[in-house]
Amino acid sequence: MEHTQMWKAQTLEELVQILHHLFAGDKVNVAEVQALMDSYDSNPLEWMQYAKFDQYRYTRNLVDQGNGKFNLMILCWGEGHGSSIHDHTDSHCFMKVLQGNLKETLFEWPNKKGIGEMMKKSERVLRENQCAYINDSIGLHRVENTSHTECAVSLHLYSPPFETCSTFDQRTGHKQKVRMTFYSQFGERTPCATAVLQENN
């Protein structure tokens, strides 16, 4: 059993530094990473520059590329913004709320034929500074900012990094591969054309 060291990140910059250290090798100690993410007390002044909101949908803003071992990004959710049900392409996914609240709904994988309403496993509301973990063996999830008055901001860590994933229609289990894009990278807006309709079902 690996020894789990307890880290404390005082600032976002420190969090990134420690993450580089934790991901230097080949193995990921999930408990250690989660404890580290938990330990960082969200300070908006430290991440404001990455928090770029879009009027129409949630945004993904790249913060650090972890020497190719992970992607660290900040997601900005306007009022009512939510994601589709999606998988994580065999990667670890850590999600920490930096501001506001996010509802996470877990789903079972649909059966092979992808017919019939998908089965909800559980749901919870993540509050500020809470950190969740998911990977494909745990299941699929949908993340939403259900507030009609407040925005939400979350910090996501994916390892290994991935650019595509599958989204699922809750009513039928039908899945579709999608390519994910960044709204900004390292604080700079990086527009790219979206030709495909984003349907969050």
Binding site: A51, Y56, G80, G82, R171, Q176, L197, N201
Partner: protein
């Protein structure tokens, strides 16, 4: 003193910081100190007066309990004010102190106690400068039971948020907000959408999630500039087929609606009334008439004829029509149940494939029985 809160850059279309030295954030007063509400009110006025500036463009008073209404001197102390944020202050009314703010374009008053009569100043829309300058208004998290009439004349308003209030309906007069691009009405008790909403020429973001909406009027398809439509968590069982016309739509949310997956079997068929049959004859045979020939109600009735969507039919219908659920691939993705209105059971669905005698295997599967041959046409009533 200048603090830019990250959530000021939110999706509500709010303006960003106007620039260094142009923002004033007034922190909550510390300590109780004797005195009642009157002293506190006076305290707020004194506090604001002491910060008066002809350069201040942005004033943030949020997240502190205000003892009373905003002081009347506001416009005198901050004549250049462009953005006012009084969210989370417990305000029960916004008054005439706002009307003389000549440059105010963004007013954020979410999470307050607004909603009763007199919550908004009378003459808001008529105010010579404010009525035209106001572009963004956020009244989310208040207690409005209906869309405040005071707003309806704000012809320059581009963004309106009334999320998490107590609205039961949207007034047809909403069409008077000609400049509206962003309309957020999520989290209310709205049961239907007025077709007049579709007259808003610039609407690009429409949020109606978390309401009690049972149907979407087909006229909504006239919103050519609509980019994002949020309808999740409502009571929709189907959508009008016209929704396919929203070619600029990039985001659509429909989850949490009881959308039909299978055909609902035949219930009852109501044959058309004599009035309807007469109306159809007049229209399809181009029987000419002048306004003097008919009573006003019949003239209006004839005007409401809808064309049968079947391009080969060319017929019209008024109230009596066959409603058929047809499952259509939306933008090549998921199958959505769309409602077709046809003038009679003999008419066939305009989207159906050429073969009409039996369901074509390529389109039907165990999930839907969408293609209905003319001789099997079922009328579906979804109540």
């Amino acid at each position: 003193m200048e603090t830019q809160q990250p959530d000021e850059a939110s999706a509500g279309g709010e303006a960003g910081a106007a620039g260094a030295g142009a923002a004033v954030v007034v922190p909550a007063r510390r300590g109780g100190g004797g005195g009642g509400a009157a002293e506190e009110e006076g305290g707020l006025a004194a506090d604001l007066a002491s910060r008066r500036s002809a350069e201040t463009r942005r004033l943030v008073l949020s997240q502190r309990r205000l003892p009373g209404p905003l002081p009347p001197g506001l416009a005198r102390w901050f004549p250049a004010l462009e953005v006012l944020d009084v969210s989370g202050t417990g305000l029960a009314a916004l008054g005439s102190e706002l009307l003389s703010l000549p440059r105010l374009h963004t007013l954020l008053a979410k999470n307050n106690r607004l909603g009763g009569p007199g919550s908004l100043p009378k003459g808001l829309a008529e105010a010579p400068l404010l009525g035209r300058s106001l572009r963004v208004l956020n009244l989310s998290g208040n207690r409005f039971a209906e869309l405040p009439a005071a707003l309806l004349g704000l012809r320059g308003l581009q963004s309106l948020s009334l999320g998490s209030n107590r609205l039961h309906s949207i007034p047809p007069e909403i069409q008077e907000l000609r400049s509206l691009e962003f309309l957020y009405l999520g989290g209310n008790f709205i049961t239907s959408i007025p077709p007049e909403l579709a007259s808003l020429p610039s609407l690009s973001y429409l949020v109606l999630c978390d309401n009690k909406i049972q149907s979407v009027p087909p006229q909504l398809a006239q919103l050519h500039s609509l980019r994002s439509l949020s309808l999740h968590n409502n009571l929709l069982t189907y959508l009008p087929r016209e929704i396919l016309n929203l070619v600029h739509l990039e985001e659509l949310s429909l989850r949490g609606n009881p959308l039909v997956v299978r055909f609902v079997r035949d219930l009852t068929y109501n044959p058309p009334s004599l009035q309807e049959l007469a109306g159809r004859t007049i229209k399809s045979r181009n029987v000419s008439y002048t306004p003097g020939d008919l009573p006003g109600n019949l003239l209006r009735y004839l005007h409401l004829a809808s064309n049968c969507p079947n391009p080969k039919c060319g017929g019209v219908y008024f109230d009596s029509c066959v409603r058929q659920i047809k499952f259509v691939d939306f933008c090549g993705k998921y199958r959505l149940p769309l409602m077709h209105y046809l003038c009679s059971p003999e008419c066939s669905s305009p989207c159906s494939s050429a073969s009409q005698s039996s369901t074509s295997q390529s389109e039907s599967d165990s999930e839907d029985e969408a293609i209905v041959a003319a001789h099997r046409m079922q009328k579906v009533l979804l109540g």
